[in-house]
């Protein structure tokens, strides 16, 4: 599979069809996977793909990485779940489908965090998204690499995130409040969640708008709550549940819970799943006259 990937990347670079291949490679010590940006055909051997490739590389397609954009037309190695983000980026005009070459890789799951990997990909070190993955075969791609997966996701989503959401839903208001307060209180406003998120591509984040300062920038519980809730709102109907924000959070705030909660809301209320079709507008900027309004008096 890796050979196939390298061959294709080489071909793309040689033909000049793309100027850079954004992919996965090993770090110098060969212990960890890190993003690599290949511009020379002879360097395509650096490309790898394995169960450690958890990173969502779609972030390098955004305006946050203008230096990469400047190199020229990119090819990007992407798992199905990463492609969902690319689809959202296309929907939101951040890139054009024809401006990128998607090297879709079939995937049989990745680790939740690389350091958990001890030579074997056990279910318990895989994130919830992998257990429920419906895109192990890339759904939007120019080239698909790897053997076809015949994995079918369970009808009812399973995994820690979903269990925890159910658990929280069943809690009392004050228990929920305490749960989140405890987590959000830890927030140090480092914005790693934002930095890692390919859909947090704003030229200026709302928290950096200081006239008026809607969200307090200090790591005060009050501002922490506002930040985390408003960020979740900004991702409502867009978040693909890639999990990068939670993976990157240095204080381990379970952001997957908030995001998945809204993914479920959007799915139940508006029948929408993000990252599937680039021609469908995200649900929060459109409406249906028949939307449920039983909560409105």
């Amino acid at each position: 599979m890796e050979n196939e990937l390298r061959e294709k990347a080489k071909e793309l670079l040689e033909s000049g069809e793309v100027a850079v291949v954004i992919g996965y490679g090993f770090n110098r010590k060969k212990t960890r996977i890190t993003p690599v940006f290949i511009t020379k055909p002879e360097e395509t051997d650096k490309l790898v793909f394995n169960e450690l490739c958890v990173n969502n590389l779609s972030i390098y397609l955004t305006r946050k990485y203008r230096d990469i954009q400047k190199i020229g037309r990119p090819a990007i190695v992407a798992k199905g779940c990463d492609i969902k983000n690319i689809v959202v980026l296309i929907t939101e005009g951040q890139t054009k489908r024809e401006d990128i070459h998607i090297l879709g890789v079939t995937c049989s799951g990745v680790v939740y965090k690389q350091e958990l990997f001890k030579g074997e990909l056990k279910p318990e070190i895989m994130p919830s998204k992998c257990h429920n993955c419906d895109v192990r075969n890339p759904h939007v791609a120019d080239t698909v690499i790897g053997e076809k997966s015949d994995f079918t996701p369970p009808e009812e989503p399973t995994g820690m995130v979903f269990d925890k959401i159910k658990e929280i839903d069943a809690m009392s208001d004050s228990a929920r409040w305490d749960f989140w307060n405890e987590h959000f209180n830890r927030c140090i406003k480092c914005y790693a969640c934002r930095q890692l998120c390919s859909l947090c591509y704003c030229e200026r984040c709302i928290t950096e708008k200081n006239m008026p300062q809607w969200i307090e920038t200090s790591a005060h519980p009050r501002g922490n709550l506002a930040w985390n809730l408003i960020r979740a709102m900004h991702l409502a109907g867009r978040c693909t549940f890639c999990g990068e924000c939670e993976r990157g959070c240095p204080v381990n705030i379970p952001l997957n819970l908030v995001n998945q909660k809204l993914v479920l809301t959007v799915k139940n209320a508006f029948g929408f799943e993000s990252g599937i079709d680039e021609n469908v507008h995200p649900p929060m900027i459109v409406f249906s006259e028949d939307d449920n309004e039983n909560f409105i008096k």
């Binding site: 305006r63 951040q94 591509y201 704003c202 030229e203 709302i206 507008h281 900027i285």
Partner: protein, 657 residues
């Protein structure tokens, strides 16, 4: 430091009774930035406004708060006064302390009212501090009006606008203007012949040098905004060259093929090349391309052979033209409810059950029977005719909930026309209520009953069926409390007036609202009856709801006055409550473009000095933006803000809370 003035109105005793306005004035004086406060008996009075202006000048105020009645009442008044005193009018803000405080909290100790007034005033002061000077937006105006629909309302609007010296285009989808009124026989309550009063207007419209008629045409697309609409019109192929056709009639005389006449509602035939009726304007025929054998299979072509000026052109195609207009009058009219659903009235099954409009054609001198009342099945003169009112109207379950308004009157007219033409005939009318409000209307109905002997039966008809060449009507007469059965020769249904099929599509094309019956929504049903929420688009006639000819004509004239007012200057000013994009922070995600209800946000190309497109960013079109603020919420980076309701203003108000 800002220099703010606060003016607390006592409104006689309306505010003063529950609010200690002097205390509010004294307390607010202590707030930072407030340099002048006063309490006054009637701020909106002339002396009140004078002192307001004087205070602005004397204290060199750069912002004013008036704590008084609702801004819906006097915001304009005070803003105008502020402007007169040299202040930008958007530096004047109103606190609503009458409708939303003093009138709703009846506390005699005045504590509640005073406290709340203080709070509200403080919020307004903080908001005001974030106000920016705004200037009214000026938009150039294309002095050319489009009238959609060439019925009486549209014709009247066009004539009045044209008489006011401005150019008008009437777009009519039928081959002739005239609309439903052209079908009518005589009109209530004066009984003058509809065609006699309508035809001169039609001709006048045709001959007016400021009016262009686009018949057999439909509006396809509307872009732009008030003063600057760009409208694409489809001119359907007539297969007749309008510039050379003389309307001699040779072609339709000779055409050997016939079809049901739409104008005559199926009561007679027309040719395949035809004008809908003899007085058609323009008097130029069209070829029905769905039936013409020449067009369908290249056979016949007789019309082309007999045409003197060689005007027939079988190769013509539909044409799309795009033209600029400053205002649009929508006068698309009505239809009668299709009656196939009225099982109990046997409509569609029984030939001699006809609609009121079909009766108009029977009674019309130019109609299929030359004005003689003949029933459709066997062309005999009906001696007993039953008129059933409210067929579909006021029937929420299976018809429409509203009253169609004109049926009581036209049914009375029908009974009269019938009696005038069939002297020994008897008319029966089943009615629910007789609604004859209007000048000389009630007298008219009385005339039908007392002079022309129509038998009015208050009650509903339960069943209509055929028996031995008669139409049997079973119904209730609730006044005598008995059931009645009438053997009639013909039944006339006063079917409900409904909007035209496709009225919703037209509304969507124009961007105007409509109700559940697809009648168009007025801006305000009482005070802005001919305006729509979309500036520059006006409504006339029955596309708004059932109305009679005088009302439709009045509305036509009313829209004309609105259009002429709009065209009275080369530029128009409008409130600057519009969204604005910060180009530095726009992500070009186009969420604003998608969510905008007005298509007011465009993708603007940003070019470098060489003219290469380097970027695309959102741009708000001031002419189209109505200032709802949906885009502001859609924008995650808050690169859009709404002037007049900026984030800073709202934030300041919340933060004061």
């Amino acid at each position: 430091m800002p220099r703010i003035g606060v003016f607390v109105c006592q409104c006689g005793n309306n505010i003063e009774a529950t609010v200690d306005t002097q205390k509010v004035a004294d307390e607010t004086k202590k707030l930072p930035g407030v340099v002048h406060t006063e309490s006054y008996k009637f701020m909106c009075s002339s002396p009140g406004q004078d002192s307001f202006k004087k205070a602005i000048k004397d204290n060199k105020l750069d912002g004013v708060v008036v704590s008084a009645c609702s801004p819906h009442m006097h915001e304009k008044t005070f803003r105008r006064a502020a402007e007169a005193a040299g202040l930008n009018q958007f530096q004047c803000e109103i606190t609503n302390v009458r409708e939303q405080c003093s009138w709703v909290h009846h506390d005699e100790t005045r504590k509640i009212g005073t406290d709340k007034t203080m709070d509200l005033t403080r919020m307004t002061i903080q908001r005001l501090k974030k106000n920016r000077d705004l200037t009214k937006i000026t938009i150039p105006v294309t002095k050319r009006a489009l009238v959609i629909g060439g019925g009486i309302a549209g014709i009247q609007a066009a004539l009045d606008i044209a008489d006011g010296g401005q150019e008008v285009v009437i777009v009519e989808k039928e081959p002739s203007i005239g609309g439903n009124m052209a079908r009518l026989s005589e009109t209530f309550p004066t009984m003058d012949c509809s065609q006699c009063i309508l035809t001169p207007k039609m001709v006048e419209a045709e001959l007016h040098d400021k009016i262009s008629l686009y018949t057999y045409s439909e509006v396809e697309k509307v872009d732009g905004y008030i003063g600057n609409f760009s409208v694409t019109i489809k001119k359907k192929a007539k297969f007749v060259d309008e510039s050379t056709c003389t309307g001699c009639g040779e072609c339709w005389e000779k055409c050997p093929f016939k079809a049901d006449s739409e104008f005559e509602l199926g009561l007679s035939k027309r040719k395949v090349i035809y004008t809908p009726f003899p007085q058609a304007v323009p008097n130029i025929p069209v070829i029905d391309k769905t039936r013409c054998p020449k067009i369908l299979k290249d056979k016949c072509g007789l019309c082309a052979k007999v045409c003197g000026p060689q005007s027939i052109d079988f190769t013509q195609e539909d044409q799309l033209v795009t033209e600029e207009f400053g205002a649009i009058v929508v006068a698309t009219g009505y239809e009668l409810m299709p009656n196939k659903d009225f099982g109990e009235y046997g409509y569609g099954k029984i030939t001699d059950v006809i609609s009121g409009m079909q009766f108009e054609r029977l009674a019309s001198a130019s109609g299929p029977t030359g004005g003689a009342i003949r029933r459709p099945s066997d062309n005999t003169e009906p001696k007993n005719v039953v008129f059933i009112q409210c067929a579909g109207s006021r029937d929420e379950k299976r018809g429409v909930s509203y009253c169609s308004k004109i049926c009581c009157m036209y049914t009375a007219k029908h009974t009269m026309l019938y009696r005038h033409k069939v002297h020994d005939g008897q008319a029966y009318v089943f009615y629910m209520d007789i609604r004859s409000g209007g000048k000389r209307y009630e007298e008219f109905v009385r005339g039908a009953i007392e002079h022309d002997g129509a038998m009015y039966l208050r009650g509903r008809v339960s069943r209509v069926y055929e028996k031995d060449g008669k139409v049997i009507i079973q119904g209730a007469d609730t006044l005598s409390g008995s059931q009645v059965e009438i053997e009639a020769d013909m039944v006339v249904l006063a079917t409900a007036l409904v909007s035209r099929p496709g009225a919703d599509t037209v509304a969507q094309t124009l961007g105007i609202g409509y109700d559940k019956y697809k009648f168009y929504n007025e801006y305000h049903p009482k005070l802005k009856p001919v305006e729509t929420v979309t500036a520059g688009i006006f409504l006339a006639g029955t596309c708004v709801g059932p109305m009679d000819i005088p009302e439709s004509v009045s509305q036509g004239s009313a829209t004309a006055s609105k259009v002429l007012a709009l065209f009275s200057s080369d530029k128009m000013a409008r409130e600057p409550i519009t969204a604005e994009v910060n180009k530095q922070t726009c992500n070009a995600c186009w969420d604003c473009v998608t969510s905008c209800p007005y298509v007011a946000i465009e993708k603007e190309e940003i070019k470098d000095r060489k003219g290469n497109v380097v970027n695309m960013l959102a741009h708000v079109n001031d002419g189209l933006c109505q200032g709802c603020g949906v885009c502001v919420c859609a924008c995650r980076s808050k690169a859009i803000d709404l002037n007049g309701y900026t984030d800073e203003q709202v934030y300041a108000a919340i933060a004061t809370f």
